[in-house]
Amino acid sequence: MNILEVNNVSKNYGSLYALADINMTVGDGKWLSIMGPSGSGKSTLMNIIGCMDKPTSGSVILDGQDITQLSLTDLTVIRRDKIGLIFQQFHLVPYLTALENVMLAQYYHSMVDEKEALNALERVGLHARAKHLPRQLSGGEQQRVCIARALINYPKLILADEPTGNLDEANESLVMNLLHQLHQEGSSIIVVTHSPEVAKHAETTVVLEHGKIAQIIDNLK
């Protein structure tokens, strides 16, 4: 069973092609990396998979549902219910504590549960920093809060955009270990990165160049 199927997806801005005829699948519980240099179209593909943009043509089947046919409002619901987002720049609400940032995802998903949010922070090793504001946390800690927020609603797919792009080596290792844990627990993960080191953690790496799939690497071989 595939959690994601991308079929002949193209995205163009006028005469400029950002993506051209992309085809790929992600099996349930699998880890896929999308790698490529700047301008290769990896962020565009991530936005389409993450229900934040629509392709010009083609279809994207997420958990059995064609998301290209949905309205922006419906896409918001799918994003809320099925996707956990992790950003390169963390994007935490600056005036909410680490705990409240995690609870924010619960609030827009269903119901706020402080105990569960604390457990999520404990899982990323930040239980003691729950009451701290983002500015009081290091970059690595902020990214771990972001991961806790992404997994709090038990998403079908975790979508991470350059999750270690702003982190030092030690924090990169911490974050990648967390993603490994989630993967081992059965989470489906897509990581968008320009780093081969990060990409090789996945089972499969899709290499994009000029909006097209240049290579598919099986990292298990």
Binding site: T76, R79, V93, L104, Y108
Partner: protein, 428 residues
């Protein structure tokens, strides 16, 4: 969670919130002061306009139109039905709109001779102290109603039965000064009375050729003791409108509801109607030029106030719009994140609207009290008295705050709705 976010947003951006509070407060204070003055200006302007004299004229039902129109003095041929009983005058202060009757004065004129020259002698109340059967006590008379007259000499009192107020033109013609004595002879009754010039006045009208005396003297000269021929009434009135004009033509043409509204409103026609109810033997004529001038001045003043109120609200809404839009632009990454996490447009809009409404409420409360203060300054500066704050203004201010804050938030909300998470989350 929503309340927590709201509280954090408000406490985090104190300076921006304070700016919006000040903007709302400024707009609301101007609007509050204008509305308070507008609701009170009717009475104030009316009181000011009372300086221009009476707006109601009471005449006996039997008085001939010809004498009324051409000022023919045929008192001695008149029948008693052409006069009003002096003791009926207290009834003027016993109608539903008694407190709107500011002043009134009776008049009885008679032609007498001074040095064989005919002169019009007018008897009146100068500043009469009256005890009304309801227990109220009032001072009323001609002096209060002719406030624009320039009068030389000591104040004329009603008990002075030997003094007279002489018009400037007549005094010059007879070569009389204050303190001089003169003798008048009523040819029809052969009454002879010697009076002293107590005052010389300048009215700018035909009254400058007349003599004003206490009412009993004129009654004695005309042999009409206890009678007067007309009464001038100065009343505070509501500006005339279509309903009042229809009622003035024929009160019976009104429906029951219209009649109730008209009767319970201080239109000059309804006051006239009520005066005729308590004094069945008289006709009450509205001096429409005065009433309509009052109405026109009042309507223009109120229109000016309304325009200023609208202008101040529009300015506030524009300022709020700029501030809230700038705030949304500054927080676009945060708003994009909320949307990425699954917040619907309505959920984010609710957060922004609640923020602005709370800030607007605080600004509104501050603005209201400043506005009441402004109104007092306007009251003292323009009218020399306080402006009574109206309770009705409070819900109006509430609605205004709601209106300007929501109106001011529209561009920001529109921007928020079209904001896509991808536009802000990738640092573009």
């Amino acid at each position: 969670m929503f309340g927590k976010m709201l509280l954090r947003v408000l406490t985090r951006q104190k300076k921006k919130s304070l700016l919006i509070v000040l903007t709302v407060a400024l707009g609301v204070s101007l609007a509050t002061s204008m509305l308070n003055v507008m609701f009170d200006v009717g009475d104030k302007v009316n009181q000011e306009l009372k300086a221009y004299g009476a707006n109601l004229n009471i005449v006996p039902k039997g008085a001939s139109f010809v004498s009324d129109m051409y000022q023919i003095d045929d008192n001695n041929q008149a029948t008693p039905s052409q006069f009003i009983q002096e003791d009926e005058l207290v009834k003027i202060k016993m109608i539903f709109w008694a407190y709107n009757i500011v002043d009134f004065a009776p008049y009885l004129s008679v032609t007498a001779n001074i040095d064989d020259k005919p002169v019009k002698i007018v008897g009146t109340w100068f500043d009469k102290h009256l005890i009304i059967p309801t227990g109220d006590e009032i001072d009323t008379g001609m002096l209060a109603m002719k406030s624009w007259w320039q009068i030389d000499g000591s104040k004329m009192v009603d008990d002075n039965l030997h003094g007279a107020m002489m018009g400037e033109t007549l005094a010059k013609k007879l070569n009389l000064k204050i303190g001089d004595e003169f003798t008048i002879v009523a040819p029809k009754t052969q009454q002879i009375i010697t009076l002293t010039v107590n005052n010389i006045f300048h009215s700018g009208g035909i009254e400058d050729s007349e003599i004003y005396v206490s009412l009993p003297i004129a009654q004695k000269l005309a042999d009409k003791v206890g009678l007067v021929e007309r009464i001038e009434v100065s009343a505070l009135t509501t500006p005339e409108n279509e309903l009042a004009r229809r009622a003035a033509q024929d009160p019976n043409s009104l429906s029951r509801n219209e009649w109730d509204v008209w009767y319970c409103t201080a239109y000059i026609s309804s006051i006239a109607y009520q005066l005729e109810e308590v004094m069945p033997s008289v006709r009450v004529k509205a001096i429409m030029q005065v009433a309509e001038s009052e109405g026109a001045i009042l309507q223009k003043t109120q229109l000016l106030m309304i325009l200023l109120t609208i202008l101040s609200l529009v300015c506030s809404a524009l300022a709020i719009s700029n501030l809230v839009t700038a705030n949304v632009i500054e927080r676009s990454a945060e708003i994009g994140l909320l949307k990425a996490l699954g917040a619907s447009n309505s959920a984010v809009a609710m957060l922004i609207i609640c923020e602005i409404l709370i800030i607007g409420f605080i600004g509104g409360v501050i603005g209201y009290f400043i506005g009441v203060g402004f109104a007092q300054i306007i009251g003292y500066t323009v009218f020399g008295s306080t402006i009574e704050p109206k309770i009705l203004i409070i819900p109006l201010v509430g609605l205004m705050v709601l209106f300007i804050t929501l109106l001011g938030s529209v561009p920001a909300l529109r921007m928020m709705i079209f904001l896509k998470p991808i536009d802000v989350l990738h640092g573009r």
